[in-house]
Symmetry: C3
Subunit: 131 residues, 3 copies
């Protein structure tokens, strides 16, 4: 098993879980009662942060694990850490203002792109070289 | 392969799929036409049930499988079953009234917490003891 | 590792990523500024396409990989390709009009159903026949 990738997976899941907690807190703070998801611009940004995390989990996790199995564990874990840090900037920025979300977003987009290209290269290499 | 965990995964996926069917039925019953997702409080609760299931799948499935690989199959499957049962209570409760969602939510939250702690302990154990 | 299934996974992730790009483009085209997700019917359909992809990733990916491990790689990859093609029709249809989403939806639903039944049969076979 790729242990470092497993650790980074737990870290990413924990960060994502935290964005869900932030939505619950923002519901109280801005008085947006379930099941509503709109009604206050500050709440809506916090909600979109969580939704964007959610939207990216089915991109990030498969790419991370395919990279780990087809390329290497520590490389996947390192790129996964970059992704988590980018997500951290994204969360902090977007929570303050919608315009401040871009830098963090492009960091995690870049990490995802490298994971994708690496995984694809690894799969094709393994298919053509056996094993 | 951890067979029991695989079975519980199918069960969780089936339950989640069912919450999607419930949304389709609620659209008809309460006259909320796609692509809208608001317009009737009873529909919105059924929709939020599915969305909350969706939000938790990228938490539950990674934790479940890391626990299965790093701790044990039957333990993961058992905690997964508790999660599914908690989700069942959550779905039934929330579909009736927003206040009735809490018990089921905390059951599945507890199961997820044990999966996380167990997986983390298992990974660290394996890293420090080799294998 | 099931190489063909890994390739189809990258394809599905890329298609899903593309539906997210389409949302970003539709925001510009129809003037729907973040964090809003409503305000123009054409935007809302493009947004629902991405959301529906998102809703199906935690169904499709687990079923695909359980089928790959418990039945066979090329079978999973083939059904996964059918799923991707069905999704392609769904995206094209829904982007034009809500009524045109049905054919593609039922293609990917059928592929998912075969993946589920095959995975379930494979797990039970392996549990009862050892291995």
């Amino acid at each position: 098993m790729p242990h470092y990738t497993a650790l980074v997976t737990l870290l990413a899941v924990a960060l994502y879980f935290w964005t869900g907690l932030a939505v619950a807190n923002a519901r109280q703070k801005f008085g947006v009662v379930v099941p509503a998801t709109t009604g206050h611009a500050d709440f809506e940004r916090v909600f979109r942060v969580q939704q964007n995390m959610l939207e990216w989990m089915p991109i990030f996790l498969p790419l991370l694990w395919l990279f780990a199995f087809y390329v290497c564990d520590w490389g996947a874990a390192l790129l996964g850490l970059v992704w988590v840090v980018g997500r951290g900037f994204f969360i902090l920025g977007y929570s303050q203002a919608a315009e401040k979300r871009h830098m963090g977003f492009f960091i995690q987009l870049g990490a995802s792109g490298v994971l994708l290209i690496g995984a694809l290269a690894g799969i094709i290499w393994r298919m053509t070289h056996g094993g």
